[in-house]
Symmetry: C2
Subunit: 328 residues, 2 copies
DNA sequence: CTGAAAGCGCTTACAG
DNA sequence: CTGAAAGCGCTTACAG
């Protein structure tokens, strides 16, 4: 591999001068600059980032830890991060945990060893061990997906979004509203969205029926079985169902279709996430756009501020939009 | 930051010995090893990968260049790559071109400067400049998405897949089959799939009608307008349409729905890609699963072989599966 | 079994 | 405007 030293030799200068040309730092005579540029051009010399990083303690790489890449939310989020970072000359080093929470911590260390300039974690939990590992790291850090105490976070307004969509159903006259959620260990999606749903019911003095509150996982099938449980719970039938993800709603939709119930006439249905899918199922699904690309971009911006200005913003809340379609 | 030297000082040994412990290389007495391990534990010392890479010329990082992250195909592909690489202790440095072909080349250089151990390119074109840049790089390299001459490639059997799905339509009795493709500059998706379609028609001595062969872009809307053009081309109506992506097919579906044509009774429709969407539109779309995760994993494997064994496999073709559903 | 020393490819005060 | 030299944090022959 060709090195700076070699370029210097060929140009009859010291490597210090070559470095100055490359970085546009300090004075270099036009003459010498041109000579060096020409040789760099000819040889196709590319400076070693490792050597540079070792000296400057800066790598222009940001680590991103995420649970899975092939879900719409993560890929949109990472796309948002990537576009924002690219504008500022940063790249992404990816760490995929494949839904294994232990790997979140493992990857934290791995990224630290790669000397990334900062880390964005798309968190699924907020365990104590994770928090303490993050503090130990002492690296610019932004969490998204979950708000983690003591750690700058960029987050959707999950409570308000769930409350809004539920309230919208109530305004349309629904009194008997069921809910399909996920495990509350996922604080934002599981707990906060459920709280939002409950708050809307309470605010309107509506009945909270335990059998109508089901807990699934992040899959379409799970929406199917949760819907089934609700309808088989014996009691009267709800007239609407709030689901915390589009996939759960689509699963519910499948089941309702199978048993011959019509949406929205017999039962209204809402999702959350504004997935591609939500737009093309029949009937088209009412949902909430969580603006994942924006969330990612905002997480990136926040991290960059922390890196550059030592800023220590604690929590940014991202907007959302209610998308009303045919399923209600 | 705590360094190896500091660990050595505290343990009363040389940094050479610390290095040996860390890498399990050479002999170290059990006594000393334990003492060092303990101090590493206590201090939370994490070795610098940059320093390591500078010495060893190996970074355990693979660069991945892709046009856009938030499409189902790329995110599945990257997921496949990431899982395979993780097994072997490699990580991914992401370079997103945002559909700008010039950035493919720019990112090639960027990744080289980051001294990645290898590069996987999810190619959208196969321009001469790109090819020559790749050769110049002299870095282990695998292309996917397109086969690039002289460069190891992992590729779907686009010709055969398109031919198969068209033939299947013919077997079901269709004689008048239209086609919605994309620009042939995208050789694999635009050209090869079209060739497959044409080959099936020719093999069965079916008529090739120019007006029935439309070219769109990678979007749902484009499927809509292409379908419109086909039906408005004046002539008789085709009884089936082969689309080179699911999104195009779904756009076509929308248009057919609007003008009151029923699928598959009036017109049969096929897609390609086995997207999530294809499973939940009504009617469910017949399509081809291109096994993108497998393609990604295979690309990663191929690259690893090249890195480790200097292997220089030129072309691997990935299998596909025809998924027959209700749209035909 | 362990250490001293060189070197990976850069950058950056310092001196001139 | 330019260069010599030190140093970033590791690894690895070499010597003992």
């Amino acid at each position: 591999m060709i090195t700076m030293k070699e370029i210097a030799r060929r140009a009859n200068v010291s490597s210090a001068t070559v470095s100055r040309v490359l970085n546009n730092s300090g004075y270099v005579s036009d003459d010498v600059r041109k000579r060096i540029m020409k040789i760099i051009e000819e040889t196709g010399y590319i400076p070693s980032e490792h050597a540079k990083a070792l000296r400057t303690k800066q790598s222009n790489v940001i680590g991103v830890i995420l649970p899975k890449l092939s879900t719409e939310t993560s890929s949109r989020l990472v796309n948002g991060i990537s576009e924002e970072l690219a504008k500022h000359g940063y790249q992404i080093l990816l760490a995929n945990t494949n839904l294994d929470p232990e790997k979140e911590i493992e990857n934290l260390k791995l990224l630290k060893s790669k000397q990334v300039d900062g880390i964005i974690l798309l968190a699924t939990n907020r365990g104590q061990e994770l928090v303490s590992e993050i503090q130990k790291l002492s690296i610019p850090f932004v969490a998204t997906g979950q708000v983690i105490e003591g750690v700058p976070s960029v987050i959707n307004n999950n409570f308000q979004a769930a409350k809004d969509i539920t309230s919208h159903l109530i305004e349309k006259g629904h009194q008997k509203i069921a809910f399909i959620g996920v495990d509350e260990a996922d604080w934002e999606v599981g707990h906060r969205r459920k709280e939002g749903y409950l708050a809307a019911l309470k605010e309107n003095q509506l009945r909270i029926v335990d059998e109508w509150i089901q807990k699934g996982i992040f899959s379409i099938e799970s929406g199917y079985t949760s819907m089934k449980k609700i309808l088989e719970s014996g009691n009267e039938r709800p007239t609407a169902v709030v689901c915390v993800t589009d996939r759960l709603a689509i699963g519910a939709m499948e089941y309702l279709g199978e048993i011959g119930l019509s949406i929205p006439n017999d039962i209204a249905l809402t999702g959350m996430g504004a997935s591609d899918l939500s737009k093309y199922v029949v009937p088209r699904l009412t949902t909430i756009d969580l603006l994942s690309e924006t969330t990612g971009a905002e997480a990136a911006k926040t991290l960059l501020e922390i890196i550059k200005e030592g800023n220590t913003s604690d929590k940014k809340v991202i907007d959302y939009r209610l998308i009303i379609r045919d399923s209600i």
